[in-house]
């Protein structure tokens, strides 16, 4: 079964000034996050599997947005991307178990390990290189430890826990589904040990990563699914999609940054074109598509009403 996640735009747009038309400007209880919650509900109504709430130092904070999204939806999976340095693993696990308990276990985790040194320094984080992966490994080990064992003790380079672990009723809940990414050796080893889904870029060598990851994860007795993270611009026909992209580029396009996307690479084409390309990934073992499509709210409906049926057709054809 294919999982389709929609990436939410959490960066603040320019403030919208009041136009010359008189408007009701009394404060109400709808805040600036309302648009994000509405987009989450649109994704849910349109039948998408979930949403990804990105970690963006210049945007809304992902855990807070994720908590609101979970509360205001019923079926949607909400994957929160976060920097492992944001809290201790015990505290992150504590926050996560509360969200799991109160959302019928719909939370996902996407630890973010990339980012440049200046950005990390501004967040008070001076780790670099392989240490980032070592810390992430300790973070996930300790978080899973307190989640699943009592007592749980841990001695690492970055974290220490003594006689930890949750008590009922905080026990027995599913650990958040873990999404990781990267193509380097450390990234693949981290995924082999901790990921449920390993996300790749659209142009990465899926076959090679799949083989490498299979070998590594087998050593830990685990199984890691593959996903692709990409931008999408799909329309009724190829010409319309190209017109909206403002480019004559082929179906694989690197110019999404020009449309305001965070993910520069992705697919442009008719729903059938894009569905066929998704199917091509699926044939190579990809089960999760983490998609950026803007503006997110109308695109959520577009993906649900147009792309999902086309995908289902492709899938049926493949099975036949």
């Amino acid at each position: 079964m294919t999982e389709l996640l929609l990436r939410l735009p959490t960066r603040h747009g320019p403030p919208t000034g009041l136009g010359p038309v008189p408007r009701d400007v009394r404060a109400d209880h709808y805040g600036p996050l309302e648009r994000l919650f509405q987009t989450g509900r649109a994704a849910e109504t349109a039948g998408l599997g979930g949403v990804l709430v990105p970690h963006d130092p210049l945007g809304e904070e992902s855990w807070t947005v994720a908590a609101g999204l979970l509360r205001h939806s019923r079926h949607l999976r909400v994957v929160a991307e976060f920097h492992p340095g944001f809290a201790t693993p015990v505290y992150a696990a504590k926050m996560a178990v509360t969200l799991q308990r109160f959302s019928a276990q719909r939370l996902g985790w996407r630890p973010a390990l990339d980012g440049d040194a200046a950005e990390h320094a501004a967040q008070g984080d001076f780790l670099s290189g392989p240490d980032r992966y070592r810390r992430a490994d300790e973070f996930l080990t300790a978080a899973k430890g307190v989640w699943t064992r009592r007592p749980f003790s841990f001695e690492g380079r970055f974290y220490r826990v003594l006689e930890g672990g949750f008590d009922a009723p905080l026990t027995g809940w599913a650990f958040p589904r873990v999404y990781l990414s990267g193509t380097g050796e450390e990234a693949l080893e981290l995924s082999a040990r901790h990921a449920d889904v390993h996300l790749l870029g659209p142009a990465d060598d899926i076959k090679a990563v799949r083989a490498e990851l299979a070998g590594r994860s087998a050593r830990w007795g685990r199984d890691v699914e593959l996903g692709v993270e990409l931008s999408v611009l799909a329309r009724d026909d190829t010409a319309e999609a190209r017109a909206d992209a403002g480019s004559d580029a082929g179906p694989h396009w690197e110019g999404f940054a020009g449309l305001g996307h965070t993910l520069p690479s992705g697919l442009v084409g008719s729903y059938d074109d894009v569905a066929a390309l998704f199917d091509d990934y699926a044939r190579r073992g990809v089960r999760t598509f983490s998609v950026e499509a803007l503006p997110a709210l109308p695109e959520a409906y577009r993906l649900g009403e147009r792309l999902l049926p086309a995908l289902a057709e492709q899938e049926q054809a493949r099975v036949r």
């Binding site: 209880h29 130092p57 904070e61 996560a96 109160f102 967040q123």
Partner: protein
Amino acid sequence: MSVDFYWRIGMHGDQRSLRERAESRGDWAPHVAGSITPALRGGAPDGYAYIEHMADVARAAESAGFYGGLMPSFPFTDDPWAAAAMLARETRTFRFMVAFQPGFLNPVHAARMAATLQRASHGRVVYNVITGGGGPAQLWWGDEVAHDDRYARTQEFLRVHRGVWQERPFDFDGRFYRVEGGALPDALAAQEFPEVYFSGSSPAAIDAAGRHADYYLSWLEPFGALAEKFAAVRAHSAATGRTHRFAVRAEVVARATEEAAWAEVRRGFEAADTAALRAGRSGDSVGAARSRAFLGGPVNGYRDLEVAPNVWGGFGLLRGGPAFGLVGSYQQVAERLDELIALGVDSFILAGVPHLEEAHRVGEEVLPLLRG
């Protein structure tokens, strides 16, 4: 002068009453007879989660006239940051006072979390900064920093926190934190910095409070002892040039008559395990030690724990948590609260069990009697 009244949102279920110490609301004790909300009904999941009850308590307190609610944090509770973020849109004026230990969060990320929650809630986030009772619980959390160092860390945390929010870009190089060019983005920095409630009875705590707190928060104690504590904080803040407001946390058993209120306490006391009364805890909290010290003399009956008129020190037996609370008629409890206001208290965090029903009761019967 306006006084803020907060209530408490129970973060680990609730009891039916103070008469029996068993959580029967939420999924903490599904086997207690009469336990509700175990999320199972007739053997099938009913879609209920404890957050629904928390939302109801918040709404009850909001409609009863409370300004907000404290959401405590312990190893066995749900997490207040996560819960507050879920509840942000479900009340309109009610504030969420999030208890947290700064040591568990990165100060820059925490600023982003808080500012985003301010946006989600229209500025209804309040901090209850706790520095930790120490003992085994600190290591449970994975925190090895010693008592006085924890206060130093709390100070650094709040310094960085405020810096990236209000002095952008912000550089800092301290014992615990280092930041280069830290800054919230404009939309987040435009949010109001949450009010800070700060507790702790030790000199290290009073020093930290003097520098960073808006409210110095104390558990209820006999009024003379509270007055001394406030004087110590005032003297310290005179030295730092910061003015302070004071807040007090108290359990409340208020009934139509004094007899009915004490009958409630007596029944709880008779059912409680009083052997635990004199047992100390292994934590290094000075506040907890102070509470125990007020209980001089042998305890033969529940009234021996009445250390001053209407001030009863046995709540730890009936529920856990703070030892002292007010017991009496509506009028008596209102008079004691008025006396505390006269001592300089600007804000109260009250609580009664069960939280939902008692929020209505205290809001309707006690608060209107206050003279301020």
